[in-house]
């Protein structure tokens, strides 16, 4: 006599949508045999390849699990109801999906890779499956992204919110002269697509922040840090540690570059090396200190090299090693780094488990750049237009330009005296403490420090020129060049 079998929702597509099936069988084993014979699509979902009932398939006779009865041999009697009840299970971690195939065009394009055993077809497919996120499309991001695209990294993400400026072209080779004024992302995307149309470019027109970093990092395998400031550098490091993604790190200043691979499982992170940022202002940015244009070419390509090696699993990665490159002396040095057990982020008892406010951590006021724009009128500051008006009225104003001599050669305010910020402590004695002084630099940051220094030394009338010499060129004398 037939027994009623209740079919769970996910298996109904295999039983002609029926939620109840009636079949004959003396035992459970026999009944299920008949069921899978009649509805053959059920078999692979109920049984493993070697014919055993899958561990997450539960068979109940009335309200009892057959595991606690006689399993397959459980006899059936008139009026019994058999239920197939799934237990639903799953969990992390994720496994790699099957690697994508290479097209005929790709095989031609990557042939010089394919003939080397360290890469080969398998390695090239790994590159195609890989997703790399470049933080910044500037000096480091440019050469890195170009070589990653050329090498066939399948997906390249770029985070940037800047616009191409003439002053970028000396080193940021993703962008050309016709791109000036365009978004860096658009320019980068066009360039990379032209280089290799097989590569998928994702663009994120936003500033990397504690709010978006983990979300942006999530789909990617490797993060390539091409940032130019400490708050973002610490943010990238911490987000890499928290999300478990390696950080292909690089940084540049004037003629010197650094590179390493941080935040791998076994290796150190940036905070193992530098637990705390330097005091604000100690290390000038490239905009203040300058950068040798070819330098990011070397460092960005080292970052790309390490990224590709990480994807391939080939060679000796730059983990636990800190590479320092001096372009003027043409020397590479290597320091050994150890993972610090007391590291606040990647140590054994981390104190930083969430992303924090990195601008505060680095002692930088948020949106400092905006703060330097001409907005204030007070005893503390004045704009270029106001300074010009005072000079035109014949007032006596002593303008102290605290930039470097090579900057002074590019543009200057007539009548200004050059005393580089670093020389001020020994040269301020040349100045009259009661004079009407205006401090000035390129955009107003260094001169604010000079202003504070002079006030501390007892100078009574010191104002800072907001917007610096750039403001002067914009508002008063457009005939002078900007840099």
């Amino acid at each position: 006599m037939p027994t009623k079998i209740l079919i769970p929702t996910p298996l109904r597509p295999f039983t002609d949508k029926l939620d109840t099936v009636e079949l004959d069988g003396q035992t459970i084993g026999e009944l299920l045999q008949n069921l899978t014979t009649k509805y053959s699509g059920l078999k692979q979902h109920l049984y493993t390849a070697d014919g055993k009932l899958r561990s997450f398939v539960n068979i109940y006779v009335n309200d009892d699990d057959i595991r606690y009865l006689q399993k397959d041999q459980t006899p059936l009697k008139a009026g019994d109801t058999v239920s197939i009840i799934p237990s639903v299970a799953g969990g992390a971690p994720a496994v790699a999906e099957p690697l994508p195939e290479l097209s005929g065009d790709e095989i031609k394009r990557y042939s010089r890779h394919l003939i080397m055993p360290e890469v080969g077809v398998e390695g090239q497919r790994k590159l195609k499956a890989a997703k790399v996120l470049c933080i910044g499309a500037g000096g480091l991001g440019s050469p890195a992204a170009m070589y990653l695209a050329a090498a066939g990294i399948g997906t390249i993400g770029i985070v940037d919110f800047d616009v191409v400026d003439f002053s970028n072209l000396q080193r940021q080779i993703l962008h050309g002269t016709p791109d000036v004024g365009r978004s860096k992302l658009q320019s980068a995307k066009d360039r990379l697509n032209a280089l290799n149309p097989n590569v998928h470019i994702e663009t994120y027109e936003e500033a990397l922040s504690s709010q978006n970093a983990l979300r942006l990092f999530e789909p990617y395998d490797v993060i390539l840090d091409g940032t130019d400031n400490f708050p973002t550098r610490y943010l990238v490091n911490d987000a890499c540690v928290i999300s478990g993604k390696p950080n292909a790190y690089g940084s540049i200043f004037r003629f010197e570059g650094q590179a390493s691979v941080f935040a791998t499982k076994e290796g150190p992170c940036y905070r193992c090396l530098y637990p705390e940022p330097p005091p604000p202002g100690l290390v000038p940015s490239c905009a203040e200190g300058g950068v040798f244009g070819v330098l990011p070419g070397i460092i960005g390509v080292i970052q790309a090299t390490e990224t590709i090696k990480l994807v391939l699993g080939a060679g000796e990665p730059l983990i636990g090693r800190f590479l320092i490159y001096d372009a003027l002396r043409m020397r590479f040095r290597e320091l050994k780094l150890r993972k610090d057990a007391d590291c606040p982020v990647c140590g054994t008892h981390p104190t930083v488990t969430k992303l924090i406010d990195y601008e505060q951590f680095c002692g930088v006021a948020p949106h400092q750049v905006e703060a330097a724009k001409p907005v204030a009128t007070s005893a503390d500051a004045l704009t270029a237009t106001e300074l010009k008006a005072e000079l035109d009225r014949g007032e006596t104003v002593q303008i102290i330009d605290v930039r470097e001599p090579q900057e002074y050669q590019i543009n200057r305010i007539p009548g200004s005296v050059l005393i580089p910020l670093g020389d001020l402590p020994k040269r301020y004695v040349e100045l009259d403490p009661n004079a009407n002084i205006v401090t000035q630099c390129k955009s107003g940051m260094r001169s604010a420090k000079a202003q504070a220094f002079l006030r501390e030394k007892g100078f009574t009338r010191v104002r800072n020129l907001t917007g610096g010499v750039l403001g002067w060129v914009d508002q008063v004398d457009p005939s002078q060049p900007k840099y």
């Binding site: 769970p8 999530e218 969430k354």
Partner: protein
């Protein structure tokens, strides 16, 4: 195939993932015609350690089916969280998957909910296909 989450469902799944962190959470998806209108939270009863695994016991599965019947909805699938892991199905997920169900995975990184994805088992059980997730009432 595609799955649509009502805003309250999306919020409930994400909140459940955050609350359970660093453990995995799980629950059933109830609704009609591909639109999920209720996230029915279930206890995670795995004995393998809930940081990496989740298990919905037969009794709870029946409760979910019962809940669907009581509310006139269909059982459309299950959701679970991946603490500190991407929202991609694992081999373990694949080994334990049922056909026709939508498997929604929300990644929870350092306690914050991140990407949410949904997956369907291929007919030959060889892999999952990702299905688009849309959000609407």
């Amino acid at each position: 195939m595609a799955i649509t989450l009502q805003p309250a469902v999306n919020a409930a799944i994400r909140a459940h993932g955050r609350d359970a962190f660093p453990h995995e959470c799980c629950g059933a998806l109830l609704g009609r015609d591909g639109v999920v209108s209720e996230a029915f939270a279930l206890p995670n009863t795995t004995e393998e350690g809930p940081r990496r695994r989740f298990l919905v016991r037969p009794g709870d599965y029946r409760a979910a089916e019962q809940r669907a019947r009581d509310t006139g909805l269909d059982l459309l699938g299950f959701y679970h969280s991946h603490p500190d892991h991407p929202a991609k199905p694992s081999q373990y997920d694949l080994d334990h998957a049922w056909p026709s169900f939508s498997y929604v995975i929300v990644s929870v990184m350092a306690g914050e909910d991140q990407l949410l994805t949904s997956w369907l088992l291929k007919d030959d059980r060889s892999a999952f296909d990702e299905e688009p997730v849309t959000y609407a009432n």
